[in-house]
Symmetry: C2
Subunit: 158 residues, 2 copies
C-alpha cells in the first residue's frame, strides 16, 4: 500500500502550518510520512546546526520528528480503520496528548534519519504509535506518541 | 540564590553548540536557565513560525525547550549536590536518557513561555527533573527529563 502523496499532503491547508510537518510552513522541517506495509516510514536529513554535542543530532529535533511522525501515522491509521481514503472528508487531524522519547545512544549527524511507526492502538479518538528512529542502520531512539483527534473547535478557528 | 550567568553559560565551549541551548550555535534557541529558590526557571519566546495549528505553539518546540531546561537543571543540581560552584572543574554536562511531555492544553503562540523545573532525584550519574511549561499564567504542558552525566568520551572527542 504505497502512496505517492505523503500523509501530510492530505492535511487541509489551514492545518498545514505545523513547523514539523506542514507543507505551508516556510521555515519548518516538512516531514513526510508514508505507508510501508503495515508500518509507516519517514526520512529526514537534519541540518548541520541541528546539533547537540558536535557530531550528534539534537535531542529536541529527534523528539520533534517523532512527534510529527506519530500524529501523521495516527491520521493515516484512523482513515484505515474506517476504510476511507485519505482524500475523503471530513479530514482526520491528530494532536499529541503525550510524547515519550528514550534516547538509546547518540544519533550521528549526517546520514538520513529513518523513522518507523507501528500502530499499537486505535480506540475512539485516540491512536497510540510506537516509533523507532535509526541512523546508518542503527536504532538510536525509541518513541511513543499518544495522539488524539483534534477537537472540532480547532477546525472552526474557535 | 540568583545568578547573573545562566547555567548554560558555564558549559565549556566545546559543549556549547546545542541547537536548543548552546551559546555558540548561531541558529539555535539559546535557552537560558537560572535558579529561583530551589526551582529552576527559563523564559522563551517562540518565533511566529514555531506553530502547530495556527495560533498555537509547535509541540516539538515545547519538547525541545523542556529537554534543554531539564539537562541544564540536571547540571546545576549536580554542582549543588557536591557543594561546588558552577565555574569549578571538572564541568558537569548532562544528556537526556528519557524525555516525556504531556500536552495538557494548546499553548498560545505569542506570550513568553515560562519553564519551571523541580529536582526530583539526584542519584549517581542520574538526575530526574520535573518541569512545567506555562503561557499567560496557565500551565499548558508538563514534562519529565531523566538526564545522565555525559560519558567522558564525549569530552575527549571519542
Amino acid at each position: 500500500m504505497t502512496q505517492e502523496k505523503a500523509f501530510q499532503d492530505y492535511y487541509p491547508d489551514d492545518l498545514s502550518h505545523c513547523y514539523g510537518c506542514g507543507s505551508l510552513n516556510d521555515y519548518g522541517h516538512h516531514l513526510k510520512t508514508y505507508w510501508d506495509g503495515d508500518e509507516t516510514v519517514s526520512h529526514f536529513i537534519p541540518e548541520s546546526f541541528h546539533t547537540a554535542i558536535p557530531g550528534y543530532v539534537y535531542g529536541g529535533l529527534i523528539a520533534s520528528v517523532i512527534d510529527c511522525h506519530g500524529t501523521g501515522t495516527a491520521a493515516a491509521a484512523a482513515y484505515k480503520a474506517e476504510g476511507r481514503e485519505m482524500d475523503t472528508l471530513p479530514p482526520f487531524r491528530f494532536v499529541t496528548a503525550s510524547l515519550r522519547v528514550d534516547y538509546l545512544r547518540p544519533t550521528p549527524l549526517g546520514p538520513p534519519l529513518e523513522l518507523r511507526g507501528a500502530i499499537k492502538e486505535v480506540k475512539g479518538r485516540k491512536v497510540v504509535v510506537s516509533i523507532t528512529l535509526s541512523a546508518a542502520g542503527q536504532i538510536t531512539a525509541k518513541g511513543e506518541v499518544i495522539a488524539v483527534q483534534m477537537p472540532e473547535n480547532f477546525l472552526t478557528g474557535k
